[in-house]
Symmetry: C2
Subunit: 366 residues, 2 copies
DNA sequence: CTGTTAGCGCTTTCAT
DNA sequence: ATGAAAGCGCTAACAG
């Protein structure tokens, strides 16, 4: 029986083996649940393992292992400065970190307004036979079909941005939509003069997906819930306008109409990330006495936050969603580390006064 | 001459050796500038190295190396739930992560109100002869003395919480105090009725340190700067009261006096982290129509935020300060990775509506 | 079911 | 000045 390491040294697999009177190989087998170990040995080893709180040396593990993992990411097409772009930034960052774990990533981007696009990429994804999947769930039916197949093949998957409760994902990273609407209402109403009008702007798009629009619906519900909670419904008039994503000039006309008929509009809120469209309009018309509130730190939104056209932006750390989504998969695969099944993002409140030092860790530091 | 790895595989030290017609040992010598290599060999190897853009495998490096680093942390004594406690949480978390790099940490805690305590621990620190130091700079003169010695010994150090500009630290992690006061003012004044009184509460303590009180001073300056910027000085009356940290009952008397003489107080702000003391008082007296704003998510502060006695808390991610402070040192030592010299923390705005999902990454996730 | 053995890529003696 | 060889702690293929 050979020596065990000095007390202050970290305990090694080999030490466990000696204590359990078996060889390193056997210990390795129980650690990785690779089977073929006598029940008693297994029990004994497991006891020692947990008693000594053994943590394998990652360096050695990664050096020795030959396993590699291919992950596939399924996201909407992104353009620089938008929300999905930030999620991808997080994924890229995670990619670098997990490269050491022999994890490779491939990103598939679908057109978020085309179910066919999603479906065909889902098909492609399956053909790639990945070790794990990260996706933004759009088009409920297609998502269910895809995740069903993944479950059958025991391929773990995580959701970002929005969740699909009914399926058994490894994890979900995203915001509580209802609550973020609630927060938006608080900020809106903290200052708004009573008996004024608040305009809720909707943005329609042909073929808009069920799941993602669900987000904005929940935000609006949260917004209204706040009014109700504090019995403010009779102090503010809520009106709505439906814009159309592709019809720039039609929108302007509509907005002009709304403002003409409702000169007492003092607040505007939009539950998706396009508040800059409203800010564009307000700036063009020189309208300045309005509290505009929106979501997400798109570059154009931040521009208007800084110049005062937008009063407040609510953020949900998209980078972190991507980053943690991918690392959760990688850690699950490479180290069998568990993840919290649901992890809600903070509801960050940004005014022009605190936007400058706002950073998302670990992206803007180090 | 043996084979070189297939193209898609990462290039190894061994491959370089083969190409340069030398042994692995020699390549290692030039990589680490360890001398004892013929000039021509050295030149040849260096060329190949840079041509192939060789990056050593970190895992293998860390596995093989025997080097270890001892870091020392110098912080004020902390109690569960307070600000320094959170910084230490961040440090502990970082400790686990860098354990793989053979980095060990020892924490020294001084009494933040005793310069002697700081000085004697600074002495002890030096005797420990650490490879790097993380500290909260209290007592300017003592800090200068300590950092001077560290610089002479070429021991890198980083500051958290507050900065000392004049010395050459590896990095600083903390908030912009002035700006955070500015933000506090914005929030305070967004709703406050005009011509009411705002009470600024100071907390004195015998032997209070120069540097840290500097923080609260700057916050107050930022607060007043906001008033000035928007020409609000004539719309609000600012009054001040000095409490004394150790004199509970004296404070109550003072506050009673202030409230009796100023029944129109509608806002209270405290520039250190003890707003819960005020909330204690307000709750005891049943005063409810006041906007109280404070700093830092101490457990007791959060309690009062949730129950509505405190309107808003401004946070500065202390965990992250500790975490990044320590990892910056570790990465600097183990991999010579550079750090941003100054990294300001976000100014997080917490209301009772968004406190629940607030998390500090990577502490509350995974 | 279990032990043995040969690496993973790099560092570090120890000879030569 | 340089090469050979023995690990670092873990994995995995191969015997038995």
């Amino acid at each position: 029986m050979s020596e065990i390491k000095k007390k202050d040294e970290r305990i090694r697999l080999k030490d466990i083996a000696v204590l359990a009177n078996v060889s390193a190989g056997t210990v390795d087998r129980v650690i990785h649940n690779r089977g073929g170990v006598a029940p008693e040995s297994k029990k004994r080893i497991e006891e020692i393992l947990s008693e000594l709180n053994f943590k394998p040396n990652k360096m050695a593990q990664l050096l020795a292992t030959k396993k590699g993992y291919k992950l596939v990411v399924l996201l909407p097409e992104a353009v620089r400065g938008d929300y999905w772009w930030d999620i991808i930034k997080g994924i890229k960052r995670a990619e670098e970190e997990v490269a050491d774990y022999h994890v490779k990533t491939e990103i598939l981007r679908f057109n978020q307004y085309s179910m066919e696009s999603f479906a065909s990429l889902a098909q492609r994804l399956l053909e790639l036979n990945p070790a794990g999947v990260l996706m933004a769930p759009f088009f409920r039916r297609e998502v269910l079909r895809l995740t069903k197949e993944l479950e059958e093949r025991s391929i773990p998957f995580v959701f970002v941005d929005s969740n699909v409760e009914s399926v058994n994902s490894l994890a979900y990273y995203g915001q509580q939509s209802h609550q973020s609407g609630y927060v938006a209402a608080k900020i809106m109403l903290t200052k708004l003069e009573q008996f004024s009008t608040i305009l809720l702007v909707h943005m329609l798009r042909t073929g808009s997906s069920a799941i993602s629009s669900n987000q904005t619906t929940k935000r609006e519900e949260g917004f209204l819930a706040y009014l109700e909670k504090y019995s403010l419904e009779s102090f503010y008039r809520i009106i709505r306008v439906d814009l159309h994503a592709e019809d720039e000039s039609g929108n302007e006309e509509k907005l002009d109409g709304v403002f003409n008929q409702n000169p007492d509009i003092r607040g505007i809120i939009m539950f998706n990330s396009r508040i800059y469209r409203i800010a564009d309009f307000l700036e063009k018309r020189g309208i300045r006495n309005i509290r505009a509130i929106g979501y997400d730190l798109l570059e154009r939104n931040v521009h208007y936050l800084k110049n005062g056209m937008v009063e407040c932006l609510i953020a949900q750390r998209p980078q972190l969603q991507g980053y943690y989504g991918l690392t959760a998969l990688a850690r699950h695969l490479a180290f069998k580390q568990p993840s919290k099944p649901i992890c809600y993002m903070p509801i960050d409140i940004l005014f022009k006064e605190n936007i400058n030092d706002y950073k998302v860790y670990p992206f803007d530091v180090e």
